[in-house]
Symmetry: C2
Subunit: 199 residues, 2 copies
DNA sequence: CGATTCCTTGAGCAACCTCAAAAGCGGTGG
DNA sequence: CCACCGCTTTTGAGGTTGCTCAAGGAATCG
């Protein structure tokens, strides 16, 4: 039983090690060739080329999500991927093909769930969308590293000025606490505490 | 928030045969038990329960998409599904498990592509969103059966009054042509010609 | 230091929402 | 057949959210 189609395994195997990325770094380009990954840590932004030659936000990939699996079918990436925060990627598929069916099914379910999350980030009041995104990005310890205002704007379908106003107001309301992390680019690593807020 | 009419459910869980559904009909409920389907024809709306006990639009499933595969993992549906147009569903997985890996991988790629489409329907100018949805729903012959104004509003994150105004204006601009179909409820089967329009 | 990039803040405006009323359409019962 | 009911759609008037345009501040890097 052959699970996956005609991918040149020899070259793939060469590069089969995990990748660590900084915030803002490009991962791969739509149309390009490469392998598939699973997101271990961090948040990845996916963009799709539009009719006008531009590129528009398409989706998010968070820890657990599969990235670029379409190359295994079509031989090229559908989306352009870039790291929104510090990221760690692991080659995919990872292990024994014995459980590949289960794993794939789970990945499909996760993908649908994630899609619903992203859709939710584009509806409702502006503040709620931003808070929704922050929730999605917050780790177990209540810490979150925010992407740039422009990235947040693209994801929530708002303008970066609006994002700036909203985040400032959340800080002033002590919902978000600015908290600088050392050793990282300051403008990109605007790190914060996030007090969940009722709801 | 959606209300579902009292559809006869007695036949729903009987057997692994294809299902035909009318526009507006409920397919399954979030949390309920059942099987997975592939959409053969038509458009299915997926809703997710929200914090406030209501239910909000989550995604669309169109011909080729997998529906409710998460029951195979969790034993219950994550979303609530209902038919937006006349639909035909086939049991899934369909055939020999030999090609299950390929098929699953393809389904995953399709799901991610579809998610990007839906996200795109929630960004940009109101008219463009509505036109984008109409494009997504238009068949090869340039015909489209529109869902209710309220459904379109939920999908595009607009109000139904806004949808009404937009569709009326598209008709007056001869982009959409009202064209009644026989043998179907008129309010739901508002059918139209769709002249693609540059872009 | 200058160049670049990102963030903040303000003032005015437009797109879209809200609320309200009425009309169309199909079904039901007298 | 007509009157009525429930539901969807249409249309209007006015209000609000979030956008646009503009200017300036802060941090990074060569």
């Amino acid at each position: 039983m052959r699970l996956f189609s005609t991918v040149d395994r020899s070259t793939v195997l060469k590069a089969r090690h995990s990748r660590a990325l900084e915030a803002g770094q490009a991962i791969y380009q739509a149309g390009g060739d490469g392998m598939a990954w699973r997101v271990r840590h961090g948040v990845v932004r996916l963009d799709t080329p539009t009719a006008k030659g531009e590129t528009a936000f398409a989706s998010l990939a968070i820890a657990g999500d599969i990235l670029g699996c379409e190359t295994m079918l079509f031989g090229c990436y559908t989306f352009t991927a870039s790291a929104l925060t510090h990221c760690e990627l692991a080659p995919w598929p990872e292990g024994e093909p014995a459980t590949a069916g289960e794993s794939l099914l789970e990945s499909l379910a996760i993908a649908q769930r994630r899609a619903a999350d992203v859709v939710a980030l584009r509806g409702g009041q502006a503040v709620d969308r931003v808070i929704g995104l922050i929730r999605l990005l917050t780790d177990g310890a209540g810490k979150v590293v925010l992407p740039t205002r422009q990235d947040i704007a693209d994801i929530t379908n708002l303008r970066f000025e609006t994002i700036s106003r909203i985040i400032k107001s959340l800080e002033r309301a002590h919902v978000l606490a600015p908290l600088k992390i050392e050793g990282v680019h300051a403008t990109r690593s605007f790190s914060v505490d996030f007090a969940p807020l009722a709801g």
